[in-house]
Assembly symmetry: C2
Homo-oligomer: 410 residues x 2
C-alpha cells in the first residue's frame, strides 16, 4: 500500500526537486502533458521580451550580427548535440520535425540508389508516415512505404529498403526501441536508419554516436521545453557528411550565404540542412529550454522517470483497481517517459480529469496518456493525479455529456 507520506519523502530526497521552481506552473494543476508541450521555463518570458524589444526593436537588422542571430541556430544545435550523444557539427536546428524528416528521407534515398522503399511501423507517429508517403508519391516509380507491425520493421527490411524510419519511443504506447540493436540489424541489411527522437530527446539517455545511428530528427517543444511549435532538429552521422545531398537546399545552408552567388554550394556538415531564415523569437525560447535541460544530469532524469512511471501505474491501480489496461511496457529498459493506459471511454475520462486540473492527453482510439517530466513533476503530483482519477471513476464524473464533445485538438 503506497501512502502520500512515502511520496512526500521521495520528494524530499529528490536531487531534481529544485528544477521545479525554474518553471512557471499554474497553481492547481498537475501537468502530465509535458511530452506534448513542455511547460514554460521562468527565464523564457524575460529572454523573449529582450529579443523582441531590444534586439529586434532597437537593434533592428544589425542584430543579425550584433546580437548573434546568425549563429543562434547553430549554437542551439550544438547544445542539442550534447543531449543526444552527437558530435559537434552533426546536428542542425531548423524547420519542423516533419520537414526535417523529408530532408533526411531524401538524403537517404540519394545515398542508396536503386533502393526505393522506406520501411516503418504501422503505429509510428502519423506525420512520419505521411512525410514518407508524400515523398514516395512525389518520386513515383518504385518508391513506396512499407509498414510493418510494431517490432517487425527489421523483418520487413529487404534489399529494396533504403531506410528504416522508426520512433525511438512510441508516442501512443511509450514503448522504446533498442536503438543500437535495431540500427545494427538494419545496417546489416544495407539500409540506413532514421530515428525520430520526439519522445526521447531530453527524457531518456540517447547516444546516437554509440548506437552508430545514421540519421535522427527531434522536436523542440516536448521534453526540451522550447514552447509551442519550437523549431525542430536533425542529425546525420559525421561519416555520412561528405556524401550528403538534401532535397531542399536554401540560402542559409549555402557555404557563403551572403555572397549571393547563382549556384548552390553546400555548407559543410549539417549546416547545409538549414534552409531558410530561422524564426528568431521561437529559437530564443528554445535556447532557454535546452539550457535548462542540459543542467540536469540525464542519469538522474532517467532514474526518476522510470520510478515515476512505475509509481503512477501502481497508484492508479490502487485508486481505481482493475479499470485500466496498461499499454506501456513494464520493463523500464523498454519504455520512455510516459505511462499509457487504455479504456474504451478514454476520451471522456481524460476530459473529466483535465476539468479537475490533472492534464494528460488522449490519443485515439482509446489511450489515456500521462507524460512524465522529471524536472517539473513531484512524487506528490502522482498521488494527486491518481487520487483524482480514482474519484472521477468512482463518481462516474466522466459521463457528464460535456466531456463527450471533442475540441479541435484532442
Amino acid at each position: 500500500m503506497l501512502t502520500r507520506t512515502a511520496l512526500d519523502q521521495l520528494d524530499r530526497d529528490d536531487p531534481l526537486a529544485p528544477f521545479r521552481g525554474r518553471f512557471a506552473l499554474p497553481p492547481g494543476v498537475v501537468y502530465l502533458d509535458g511530452n506534448s508541450l513542455g511547460p514554460l521555463p521562468r527565464a523564457t518570458p524575460g529572454r523573449v521580451a529582450e529579443v523582441v524589444a531590444r534586439e529586434w526593436g532597437e537593434g533592428l537588422i544589425r542584430s543579425w550580427n550584433d546580437a548573434g542571430w546568425i549563429d543562434l541556430a547553430a549554437r542551439v544545435a550544438d547544445s542539442i548535440a550534447r543531449l543526444v550523444g552527437a558530435a559537434p557539427g552533426s546536428v542542425a536546428v531548423a524547420d519542423s520535425t516533419s520537414v526535417n524528416l523529408f530532408k533526411l528521407l531524401g538524403a537517404a534515398l540519394t545515398l542508396r540508389p536503386g533502393r526505393c522503399v522506406v520501411v516503418s511501423e504501422r503505429d509510428n507517429f502519423p506525420t512520419d508516415l505521411y512525410v514518407a508517403q508524400g515523398m514516395a508519391a512525389f518520386l513515383g516509380g518504385e518508391h513506396r512505404v512499407r509498414l510493418a507491425e510494431p517490432g517487425a520493421a527489421i523483418d520487413a527490411t529487404g534489399d529494396d529498403a533504403a531506410v528504416v524510419m522508426l520512433s525511438h519511443v512510441n508516442y501512443r504506447t511509450g514503448a522504446m526501441h533498442d536503438m543500437a540493436a535495431v540500427t545494427r540489424a538494419a545496417q546489416e541489411r544495407g539500409a540506413l536508419v532514421l530515428w525520430d527522437l520526439a519522445h526521447s530527446a531530453g527524457a531518456v539517455p540517447v547516444d546516437l554516436s554509440a548506437a552508430d545511428a545514421d540519421f535522427a530528427v527531434g522536436c523542440g517543444y516536448k521534453f526540451l521545453n522550447g514552447g509551442p511549435g519550437a523549431p525542430a532538429f536533425l542529425y546525420a552521422a559525421p561519416r555520412l557528411h561528405a556524401g550528403l545531398r538534401f532535397p531542399i537546399t536554401g540560402w542559409l545552408g549555402h557555404a557563403a550565404p551572403f555572397a549571393f552567388k547563382t549556384e548552390y554550394r553546400a555548407a559543410s556538415g549539417l549546416a547545409q540542412a538549414v534552409v531558410g531564415t530561422p524564426p528568431i523569437l521561437s529559437l530564443a525560447a528554445l535556447e532557454v529550454g535546452i539550457s535548462l535541460a542540459l543542467e540536469a544530469p540525464l542519469s538522474d532524469v532517467r532514474a526518476k522517470s522510470a520510478r515515476q512511471v512505475a509509481l503512477l501505474a501502481a497508484l492508479i491501480e490502487q485508486a481505481a483497481p482493475g479499470i485500466f489496461r496498461r499499454v506501456t511496457p513494464d520493463d523500464p529498459a523498454r519504455h520512455g517517459s510516459q505511462l499509457c493506459l487504455s479504456h474504451p471511454d478514454a476520451y471522456a475520462i481524460m476530459q473529466a480529469l483535465i476539468d479537475r486540473g490533472v492534464i494528460g492527453d488522449f490519443r485515439a482510439p482509446d489511450i489515456l496518456r500521462f507524460g512524465i517530466t522529471p524536472l517539473t513533476l513531484s512524487y506528490a503530483d502522482l498521488w494527486d493525479a491518481a487520487a483524482t482519477l480514482g474519484a472521477v471513476m468512482a463518481e462516474g464524473a466522466w459521463r457528464d455529456p460535456r466531456f463527450a464533445v471533442r475540441g479541435a485538438v484532442t
Copy 2:
C-alpha cells in the same frame, strides 16, 4: 532645388503619418532596411508576452483549443490573402519562403508531367535558385533549371518548361515585373508561374487573382513586419486546388490531423500546405504585423512609396552629385519600394552610413540598397539620409579601415 522645408510640408500632408507612432523606432536612426527586417510594431511586445506567459505558461497544452493556436496560421493566412488579392482559403502560412518554394515547385512539376525545366532569371534571389537546383538534382533525369538574363525568362520558356519562377520585385535592383503580362505569356507557353512576393507583398499592390497567377510565395519579416525569421506564406490559385499534390505532406495538412490515421489524406485547399506544428510565438508576432499592414490603404502606401523613391534619388543626387549610378528603374510602374544605387565602394560606404545611424544595406557586389517603408518613413528622414550620405562622401569617411571589415551578415 529640394529643401528641408518642402519635405516637412509633405510630412504634414501625409495621410500615412500617424502610422509611424505605431512602431517602436530607436532614436537617432533613419531606418531604410524595412525591406530586409521590418521594424517592431508597438503592439508586438505585449502580444508576444501574453502568448508566452498566459497562453503557454498558464494555458499549457489547453491553449491549442482555448487560445485558438490551432487556427492561428489559417487566420493569419486569410489576412495575407486580403493583402495580395487572393481568395480565402488559397493562402497558407507555414515554414520559410524557401521551403514553400520547394513545395510549390514540386506541385508544379507534378501538374506538368513530361515538362522537366524550371525557368528563372539569373538575378533572381539566390535561395529561389538554390531551391530549384536542389529539386532538380534530387529528381535527376531531365530535371534542370534554366536561367535567363533579366527580363528574358519568357523567351526561355519552351515546351519543356513546367514552371516559370520569378520575383515580382527584384531584391537587388528593385525592378518590378508586370505580373499579369508575364503570367499570361508563360501560361500561353503551357507553363505555370510561381511569383516570389518577398519584396512586394505589403509594399506594392499585388492582385494574384486579377493576374490569374498560379502560385506565389512571400515573406513575413520584410514589409509585413512579422519579426526576424517570421513564418512565410504560399498561394495556389483555387482553380488548381483539386489537382494539387505537394511533395511534403505532414500531419497538420491532413484532412483530420487528430484522427492519427496511418494513411495521408490531404486537407482541402491550401490547408494541405501546412506540414508541421507552427511556431506559435513567431506566428503571434506576425499576426500583429499583418494587422497593421491591413489598416493602411495600399493605394496610399504605393503613392507614398513611389514618391519617396523618386525623392530619395533626387536628394542623394543633390547632396552627392554624380557619384552614384541608379540601378532601380525610373518608372514607378517598373519598380518596387526600394532605391538601389551602385558604387565600387558600396560596402564601406554603407558601413559608414550605418555608423551614423542611417541604416540601409549592401548587396554584392556593389549595391547600396535603401528600402522604402511608407508606414514608418517620413519625408524628413529622406532628407537626413541624403544629407548624411553627402557628408560621408564629402569627408571620405567611408575610407576608415574599420568599415572594410565584413560581418557575418552583410
